[in-house]
């Protein structure tokens, strides 16, 4: 048994269940033996019986023994040196890694960089992929339920009966049927078209997850050509067949749950609200791009000019101008969208 040079740690020994401090010295030997000596007592035991508290900055360490006695010391470096020399097993614990991180600025900077990359990958790829997988396993009966509830709500809040003349409704309905007949997924969803009037919502057309389309009177009056209707329907059909509606709900609520789970006890929901909105709008723009490219492919396949979309879009803009900075918008910029439709002919 050889004493390792410099192998003693000054500290305090407390006997089990009493607060009387005894000035003590801990000696350790290369075979793992430990001797703790006070003025009047000597304890001898092996290091494997000791529970050594993890190091946090330079706060006092507690070394507890099986009999309930406790040795405390502020000499953190000496304790770490002892662990490294005679008990390498206790060296590579999670807590010693954490202490390394907490005491090295370069390690912290590296951790910040890694965190940014991982969070970016998660938000951009992993999380949307999981959501897409879930969205496509939602049964059609659930899609029906969601759509029914949505329409019930919209009818109560915003819509009144259509005020369009019967002949106009009939024409649009016929054109709608003609369009649906060209969609390969026509049997998977129940594609139906509803006409509604609303002063609040203005010119708008959108699709619910089960294939229910809603078109407002103001929008119908803007349409001057069958193919204009087709380009819009193609865009909305993409939202249905790619299940953008369900994915949107899942992305939104999923992000919120994750954010609250992580930051819930750190910051308030208002502080994380804006970043969440920006991330969510990013997903939303991605969906719109996907829907546009679906519509463009449709136009190419059925020899419809992209001008129809552009014309309708410009009329829409005149009637209901919107001006939102791109980061806050749920849609890609107008220039970007129109340019991609103009490119069909080329």
């Amino acid at each position: 048994m050889t004493l390792i040079s410099g192998s003693n740690i000054k500290g305090t020994l407390y006997n089990k269940g009493i607060s009387t401090p005894h000035a003590a010295t801990l000696y350790y030997f290369d075979n793992g033996d430990i001797i703790i000596e006070t003025e009047s007592t000597t304890k001898k035991l092996h290091i494997s019986y000791l529970t050594i508290s993890p190091r946090v900055a330079n706060t006092q360490r507690q070394i507890t023994m099986p009999d309930g006695d406790m040795f405390t010391t502020k000499d953190n470096n000496a304790v770490d040196a002892m662990i490294a020399k005679i008990s390498p097993k206790q060296k590579n614990t999670v807590h010693s890694l954490l202490y390394y991180l907490e005491s090295h600025v370069t390690a912290i900077v590296a951790l910040i960089a890694v965190s940014i990359i991982i969070v970016f990958i998660f938000i951009k790829f992993i999380f949307p992929a999981i959501v897409t997988h879930i969205a496509f396993s939602v049964p059609t009966s659930t899609l029906h339920l969601i759509s029914e509830k949505t329409i019930e709500y919209l009818d109560k809040q915003f819509f009144t009966q259509t005020q369009l003349p019967q002949t106009r409704i009939h024409t649009i309905k016929t054109q709608f049927k003609e369009f649906i007949a060209t969609i390969p997924e026509k049997n998977k969803y129940t594609f139906t078209l509803y006409f509604r009037h609303s002063n609040l919502i203005g010119p708008n057309a959108f699709a619910l997850p089960d294939g229910t389309f809603i078109i407002t009177d103001d929008f119908v009056t803007l349409i001057q050509h069958k193919h204009e209707l087709f380009t819009i329907l193609a865009h909305e059909t993409a939202h249905v067949v790619y299940r953008h509606g369900v994915r949107n709900i899942l992305l939104n609520s999923g992000l919120l749950v994750i954010a609250i789970a992580i930051f819930g006890d750190v910051v308030s929901t208002t502080t994380i609200g804006l970043p969440l909105l920006l991330i969510h709008n990013g997903y939303s723009r991605e969906f719109e791009r996907q829907a546009d490219s679906f519509a463009i492919d449709y136009c190419k396949k059925h020899h419809i000019s992209g001008k129809h979309f552009v014309n309708l879009y410009k009329r829409l803009q005149q009637k209901a101008p919107v001006n939102v900075p791109s980061l806050l918008s749920t849609h890609p910029s107008d220039e970007e969208r129109l340019a991609s439709f103009m490119a069909i002919e080329k």
């Binding site: 407390y14 089990k16 269940g17 009493i18 607060s19 009387t20 401090p21 508290s53 993890p54 946090v56 900055a57 330079n58 706060t59 006092q60 507690q62 406790m70 405390t72 999670v94 954490l98 991180l101 907490e102 005491s103 600025v105 912290i108 951790l111 910040i112 890694v114 965190s115 991982i118 969070v119 994750i258 789970a261 992580i262 819930g264 006890d265 750190v266 910051v267 502080t271």
Partner: protein, 359 residues
């Protein structure tokens, strides 16, 4: 002669806090990053390391406190709470009866969680090798944290300060440091004085602040307001700024009022606590505390949260340096409570889960 002898046997010992921003900032940022990277799982480790750092820097008589809980017990407690929360929020969508049952079950669960977490925190807080023990019983917790609220509508809210008083009394009177009982000898009137004074101070400071700000800021404000109400389509930027400014000033006066409430309660409650024969005392200065409170809030706001570690260390330094204990007991001669005795009350009524439940 006797009085002199008494004075000399009483030692007044100050508390102190030795944490440093440079150390805590690193712990804090690593905690935040790892919590994000592990989707929240690390938060249990984060809590332990934060508490170890904070407790380990509170000194009395040259000896620090210690926090010795294991992260795994905190993680399990959090998962339990999360599991309940998930079932609870999902139940509302599927079964109305289940939702109502779960809501009602919160009434008996809340006091149990309070008792459990007080026991947990006490058990893992050591000073000189001696843990704190919480002996409070479940039925009393049910009484003071649930049942007592029946009186709120019946007394038009007048009972609320009394409720806070009873809750403080319940928590402190059931605490033991080893075998030394900790006693709270405060009066309910303190809570009423705090409430009334804080309300008056909030209103006075709001009056003073607005009285100075409005004539100075914009004499044409009301003209502007009138003009804008008539023409709501184009709301002027200056009116938004003015309203925002007034709102911010009112928040500051509310801050001043609530800071007064907090400091008044802390000073009085801590100064009414006896640990054995030894009396604690707390004497925070109102002006100093409010200035720390306001500058901390501003620093956190303008640094987008990065000043949080600095603000916490700064507050703790001031808080603990304001506390002292006039010692009548020998701190080096305190024994732990008998383990059999601890077990006997821990096992009543559903028992003690060695988990830190909740967030």
């Amino acid at each position: 002669m006797e009085s002199i002898a008494n004075v000399s046997s009483t030692k007044i010992l100050p508390f102190s806090f030795t944490g440093k921003t440079s150390e805590y900032f690193k712990i804090w940022i690593v905690n935040g990053l790892l919590t994000v990277l592990t989707l929240g799982i690390y938060s249990a480790w984060a809590k332990v390391r934060t508490n170890r750092y904070m407790y380990g820097n509170i000194y009395l008589d040259n000896e620090p406190f210690a926090y010795t809980a294991m992260p795994v017990n905190i993680l399990k407690g959090r998962l339990l709470a999360l599991g309940f929360f998930v079932v609870y929020s999902l139940s509302g969508q599927y079964s109305q009866t289940l939702y109502i049952i779960l809501t009602l079950s919160l009434l008996p669960i809340i006091p149990w969680v309070i008792v459990n977490s007080l026991r947990f925190r006490g058990k893992y807080t050591l000073y000189k090798n001696i843990p704190f023990i919480f002996k409070g019983d479940y039925l009393d917790a049910f009484k003071y944290f649930i049942l007592i609220y029946i009186w709120v509508p019946l007394t038009l809210g007048i009972i609320i300060p009394y409720i806070y008083y009873k809750q403080k009394e319940y928590i402190i009177n059931n605490l033991y440091f080893g075998i030394l009982p900790i006693k709270y000898k405060g009066k309910a009137s303190i809570f009423y004085i705090a409430f009334i004074a804080a309300t008056i101070i909030t209103m006075l400071s709001a009056g003073v602040i607005l009285g100075i700000a409005i004539p100075l800021g914009s004499s044409g404000f009301f003209e502007l307001l009138k003009k804008n109400i008539e023409n709501t389509a184009s709301i002027d930027a200056s009116i938004v700024a003015t309203i925002f400014g007034i709102y911010a000033l009112l928040i500051i006066s509310f801050f001043i009022g609530s800071a007064f409430y907090k400091i008044f309660i802390l000073n009085n409650v801590i100064s009414s606590i006896y640990c054995g024969q030894s009396k604690l005392s707390c004497s925070m200065d109102y002006i100093k505390y409010i200035s720390i409170f306001l500058t901390n809030a501003l620093a956190i706001l303008f640094s987008l949260g990065l000043a949080i570690p600095w603000a916490r260390i700064r507050y703790n330094k001031y808080f603990y340096s304001s506390i002292s204990i006039s010692l009548e007991n020998n701190l080096d001669d305190i024994t732990s409570m008998d383990e059999k005795e601890i077990k006997s009350f821990a096992e009543e009524l559903g028992g003690f889960l060695d988990l830190d439940i909740g967030f």
